[in-house]
């Protein structure tokens, strides 16, 4: 615990920890010191000079070390002759700060006047207007009239693309460097910088491709003027026209808290549509940030290929007809199963699981990454927060490129390492997180199950694991399929147990799952399926929910196909082959909860109305179940969750009210705090709850599986070892409808070491196990020789490592 000091700010006594900046101390006392360049998440730079205040420090007698007292017995204060910046000066005992004195106000007014001399004052057409710190602070602190002659204003470019997602308006920029500092300090991607100097200074991107960072959108939130805008939202709406719906990002297992800003608009035929996504503060999850996928990929919810109504193979159908047909099939046939994905909410998955139990059929999870039973058992538990990790703690990341798979976890792990946590990274190739790792252990693709053993063999790493106060392990699916990830998860769980870190708060295993709610499915007891092709071939009826095995190429129809009841939101290949199509709501159109990879259950709220006739997944399942005499909640997500919490062990005691609890957070966010923290939205609708621990008897623990030596694939002369990897931007159905991401998604490709002898951009034919796909070659020196990385969800149906070949077009011809 650091020493507390007491100071006076505008006559108010404030007690804060030693080392606190005056600007933060004031904000904690409810006093706003205006800022532009200062941001509570970044190091202060004192550039903008907006936070000028008068600071008096008690005079200390050099001989006695005691304060010198005046005639009234009060400590004598020493004020510098000039104003000082509240953002760069820390508090000290007995300090007196005047933020509203005539001198301080004059300083603040001067800074606003200076800033406005080169500002275009185009508020009426500016996207930031209405939520603009410069606009607000001008009203509060600025002069009523400018003495700067209008014709002396310099005019600068107003539409400068810093990459395809972010635009810069050079006239509006006040050169506060928040964006530059965000990229270098927080994102760790120092891709923005200043060019030129003085009044000619301008923000430029120094990377190729430009603004090469997956966190770029955050710079628009913290930009204190309308200089940085997103290609998605610019000129899209005025902030005051927008309604806000609290939600959870559905793109990865981090569970970032977000807000959907919506508006009813003529240009969308009078519909209510999503205009933008903003981060919603949750200091235990995503703080004030989200990644660009979360910010820009929401357009799938308004894709022209959305299913608007149920239908049968023969043509349109009413809900009654479609449900009757589905029920009839389920009644008639013997061999049947349910296959659902982690895109669904907890309520949906619970309804499906109950329905499967009533039908006495298996409930499968559509995934090629396993190990969920281990995370359910050894995952993070209530009270855990990655923000707690620091000096003395160890974080191990195995087989995952967190930057690409779960960007906000990358940020959180990077920060923990910067706070002093020991970061051990084990991956077959270099990933961006490695720059912050204390130990980087490379292994060959195929050797995943041996990694833990190798870590333990290194004395220093073994010590860092064993002696860690807390140990958190992230495991992913880099280059692995279902079996390999299951084995890796088991080995990680064993490591937690052996080092004495199992079953403790702030310790545990985190699965870097491919979907937002895979963890929820594992908690609910869904099981993975190792051979989906075989399943398809033996089943009579399959009820698929939010899964597209045909479109993903996981399953190929060979003549016989089961009766397919497909429930989805988009027109997928599987939907096209369906006998019954049930049109589901996108999650933005309904209520529900997701369980993040950290086992945190969080609520999301409806942002827009239902698309056409579609219904929430749990409601559709409930209607279907009714035909079998099973009563499930079909209307209220809250009641559905109650039923879930009553019967699933780890959810016991939770309800929507508990999930909606909010704890006090720093920094403050909200309307008055836009200048301070940016436009990240305050959290008023819940920070979620982490699930309880599983309390099974030890005998019920699953036993680890380790693949036999002979089953492992390694690079081999004459063939290419193809391994699946995850890229943030892929051609998946929840991403590709967002046109502005197409450049980031890129071509269908295989990533090879330059030693492969092929040229960047070459078109080649990729062959493995009877598959043939035309792909583009991308070269990356971080890829081991003899290995071909195959990004998932890019139209190359590689589910697990395989031996393959490349053919150049000449040889094909």
């Amino acid at each position: 615990m650091s020493k507390m000091v007491t100071l006076s700010i505008d006559g108010i006594q404030v007690t804060v920890p030693e080392g606190t900046l005056i600007v933060d101390a004031a904000r904690q006392a409810g006093i706003d010191i205006p800022v532009f360049c200062y941001h509570p998440k970044m190091e202060p730079v004192g550039m903008c000079r907006m936070c000028l205040v008068e600071i008096g420090r008690p005079m200390i007698d050099r001989n006695t070390g005691q304060p010198i007292l005046d005639e009234n017995g009060q400590p004598k204060l020493q004020f510098l002759g000039k104003l000082e910046t509240a953002c760069t000066n820390t508090v000290s005992d007995g300090m007196v700060v005047l933020t509203q004195s005539e001198k301080a106000r004059a300083g603040q007014k001067a800074t606003v006047e200076f800033l406005l001399t080169s500002h275009p004052l185009d508020c009426p057409i500016c996207d930031k207007g209405g939520e603009c710190p410069l606009q607000d602070l001008t009203m509060a602190y600025g002069p009523t009239q400018s003495r700067f002659l209008y014709e002396d204003k310099i005019h600068l470019a107003k539409h400068v693309p810093l990459g395809e997602l972010i635009y810069l308006d050079r006239e509006r920029c006040i050169l506060c460097a928040r964006c530059i500092r965000f990229q270098s300090e927080i994102a760790g991607d120092a891709v923005l910088t200043f060019d030129e100097r003085g009044r000619s200074s301008q923000i430029i991107t120094s990377s190729e491709p430009p603004f090469d960072s997956v966190f770029s959108g955050n710079t628009t939130d913290i930009c204190p003027v309308g200089a940085l805008t997103t290609a998605d939202f610019r000129f899209g709406a005025r902030p005051w026209e927008l309604k806000a719906a609290a939600s959870i990002c559905s793109q990865c297992p981090v569970g970032c808290n977000i807000v959907y800003n919506t508006r009813r608009e003529a240009r969308s035929d009078g519909r209510i549509v999503i205009k933008r996504v903003l981060p919603r503060q949750n200091e235990e999850v995503n703080e004030l940030w989200i990644c660009d996928k979360g910010r820009f990929a929401y357009h799938y919810t308004e894709s022209p290929s959305r299913l608007a109504a149920p239908r049968l193979a023969g043509g349109p159908a009413s809900w009654d007809q479609a449900l009757e047909k589905a029920a009839q099939a389920l009644r008639t046939w013997q061999k049947k199963a349910i296959l659902a994905s982690g895109r669904l909410s907890n309520e949906d998955l619970y309804a499906l699981k109950r329905f499967a139990e009533a039908l006495n059929v298996p409930a499968y999870l559509y995934t090629s990454m396993g190990g969920g039973e281990w995370v359910r058992r050894y995952g993070l538990r209530a009270g855990s927060d990655l923000g707690h990790l620091g000096a003395g703690d160890t974080i191990l990341v195995i087989g995952s490129d967190l930057y690409e798979e779960a960007p906000i976890w990358y940020l959180r792990v990077k920060q923990a390492a910067e706070r002093g946590a020991t970061l051990i990274l084990s991956n077959p190739r270099f990933t961006r997180l490695e720059r912050f790792a204390h130990y980087a252990v490379r292994y060959a693709y195929g050797d995943e199950s041996e990694v833990i053993g190798r870590l333990n063999a290194d004395a220093k790493i073994a010590q860092a694991l064993r002696e860690a106060r807390n140990l958190v392990i992230f495991f992913g699916s880099e280059g692995m399929g279902l079996e390999q990830t299951e084995a890796l998860a088991a080995a990680c769980a064993q490591l937690l147990t052996e080092t004495g870190h199992a079953e403790r708060v702030d310790n545990g295993l985190v699965g870097v799952w491919p979907r937002a709610n895979d963890q929820g499915a594992w908690e609910m007891g869904f099981e993975p399926v190792s051979d989906l092709q075989a399943l398809f071939e033996e089943l009579d009826v399959l009820y698929l929910v939010a899964a597209d095995p045909l479109g993903d190429g996981v399953v190929r129809l060979n003549g016989r196909k089961p009766f397919l009841i497909v429930q989805d939101i988009l027109e997928t290949e599987t939907v096209r082959q369906a006998d019954v199509v049930l049109a589901a709501c996108a999650y933005t159109e309904r209520e529900g909860t997701f369980t993040s990879g950290e086992r945190r259950v969080q609520r999301y709220f409806p942002a827009v109305p239902h698309w056409g006739e579609c219904k929430p997944d749990f409601a559709i399942t409930a209607m279907l179940a009714e035909a079998f005499g099973l009563r499930l909640e079909a209307h209220s997500a809250a009641r559905a969750f109650q039923e879930l919490a009553a019967s699933v062990e780890t959810f016991k005691g939770l309800d929507y009210a508990a999930l909606s609890e909010v704890r006090a957070q720093w920094p403050p966010t909200g309307r008055e705090d836009y200048p301070f923290s940016g436009t990240a939205q305050p959290n008023t609708q819940g920070m979620g709850k982490t699930l309880a621990a599983v309390t099974e008897a030890p005998s019920a623990r699953p036993q680890p599986k380790v693949p036999r030596e002979a089953e492992r694939l390694r690079p081999e002369e004459g063939t290419l070892l193809l391994v699946p990897i995850t890229r943030l931007f892929d051609a998946g159905s929840l991403v590709s409808p967002s046109a502005l991401l197409h450049k980031r998604i890129g071509a269908r490709r295989v990533i090879l070491n330059p030693a492969s002898g092929l040229e960047q951009g070459a078109q080649v034919l990729l062959e493995w196990e009877g598959h043939q796909v035309e792909v583009t070659v991308e070269l990356d020196e971080n890829v081991p020789a003899g290995v071909g990385l195959v990004p998932r969800s890019m139209g190359i149906p590689l589910q697990q490592p395989a031996r393959g070949h490349l053919h150049t077009p000449e040889r094909v011809r």
Partner: protein
């Protein structure tokens, strides 16, 4: 003065050759320090000598050295050879004419603060001097005056030159350090000061070339000897860079306590065409403009003595202005200079210098409208005390003092 202390090449033209410098006692002070004194003893001598920084701020040199954080290593010494103040050309002459005395000063300073690496940061235009110093450093290495285990002790020292890219701001010590680190030359917020957080975040002493050139003499001859010259406030000698409307502009090495009248009329040969003197800028373009009356001309010069006149001696780059020069022309020059050199980091300097430039251009072109002159004064005053570093403050000095003290030139 019969004997030079700093500009010794004027008497001993070959002193830039290592053997000649050594024949005249060169590197004896360094040897004495390394072999016979503790680092603290060296610092104490410099402290006792009263040597103050010659870069402009006049901060006591020994005191600066004693501030080095001893819990944080390594330590660095950086010689500030950025010499960019308009009207200042003294460091150039020292480095060109008497390079070893300067380099010996760098070496002694390094020993005193426990630095094993010293960097000489030169302005980009001094490329020829950087190459020249590189040769001299190589000669020192060959002679065993730089390198490992010097004079048979455990002390090691390496020296490197580094060129800036032509920015005035890089003479500001924290901007210099940023530039030396390979970043944009922009000042840091101080505190922390370089002795606690300097180059690469390590304790660093940044000293001016002329300051360092004094150090070998002080170590060799003692603090008492040094204090016997100059004034109590400013012991020792100072190189005055004299320019402007004088007959013999140039560098003049004189003890503190000399007067402007002596400097300008005795050494500088008086005003061109024997016109009346009007104003003096004692510290280059960043000076306040001082009205050159008899009281000013006869004031013995040291760091304190110009305060009552509303000025500072700074780097003693004395620019002389006679009655043929209008002060509005002078401040147009300084404003244009500072507008060009403003790094853009802080708002008042970036925007204020730009604004002032437009105002003075309008005043000079469209006539001296009182409202515009008043606005220029207001803008300059509004900048004062609010900038991140001294450059911003400097940009207002001539403007405010010029309008206030030479109002007749603005009517």
């Amino acid at each position: 003065m019969t004997q030079y202390l700093l500009l010794r090449h004027r008497e001993i033209p070959e002193i830039s050759r290592l053997e000649v410098y050594r024949q005249h006692g060169g590197f004896e002070a360094f040897r004495k320090a390394v072999t016979g004194m503790t680092p603290d003893q060296v610092t104490e001598v410099v402290k006792a000598s009263g040597l103050r920084g010659r870069g402009g701020a006049g901060f006591p040199t020994g005191l600066k050295w004693s501030f080095m954080d001893r819990k944080n290593w390594p330590h660095y010494v950086v010689a500030n050879a950025d010499e960019s103040e308009p009207g200042t050309f003294k460091d150039r002459e020292i480095m060109e004419g008497n390079p070893f005395q300067f380099l010996e000063g760098v070496a002694i300073a390094s020993y005193a603060v426990g630095a094993n690496r010293a960097y000489i940061y030169l302005r980009g235009e001094y490329q020829h001097i950087a190459r020249w110093l590189d040769e001299k450093i190589a000669e020192m290495e060959a002679a065993g005056l730089l390198g490992e285990r010097l004079f048979g002790t455990d002390y090691s020292l390496r020296m490197y030159t580094h060129l800036g890219a032509g920015a005035y701001i890089c003479g500001e010590e924290t901007a210099l350090l940023e530039s030396l680190e390979g970043k944009r030359g922009q000042p840091r917020v101080r505190p922390p000061f370089p002795p606690s957080f300097g180059l690469y975040g390590k304790p660093t002493v940044v000293n001016n070339v002329e300051t360092l050139a004094n150090v070998p003499l002080i170590v060799q001859n003692g603090a008492e000897w040094y204090r016997s010259m100059g004034t109590a406030d400013a012991p020792g000698v100072k190189i005055f860079s004299l320019s402007g409307r004088v007959k013999r502009p140039g560098n003049y090495e004189l003890p503190f306590g000399v007067t402007f009248r002596q400097l300008i009329y005795e050494y500088g040969g008086g005003i061109l065409d024997d016109r009346p003197i009007k104003a003096i800028m004692p510290a280059g373009a960043s000076s306040s403009l001082l009205r050159a009356d008899d009281r000013l001309l006869d004031t013995p010069l040291d760091y304190a003595s110009l305060r009552p006149f509303g000025g500072d001696l700074g780097s003693a780059s004395v620019i002389v202005i006679d009655d043929t020069v209008s002060i509005d022309w002078v401040i147009q020059k300084t404003i244009r200079f500072f507008k060009h050199e403003s790094c853009g980091k802080c708002t008042p300097c970036r925007e204020g210098t730009y604004w002032m430039k437009h105002l003075i251009d309008r005043i000079r072109t469209n006539g001296k409208e009182e409202k515009q002159v008043q606005l220029l004064l207001d803008v300059a005053r509004q900048m004062q005390g609010k900038c991140l570093c001294a450059l911003g403050e400097f940009s207002t000095m001539a403007v405010v003092s010029g309008i206030e003290r030479f109002g007749e030139d603005f009517r």
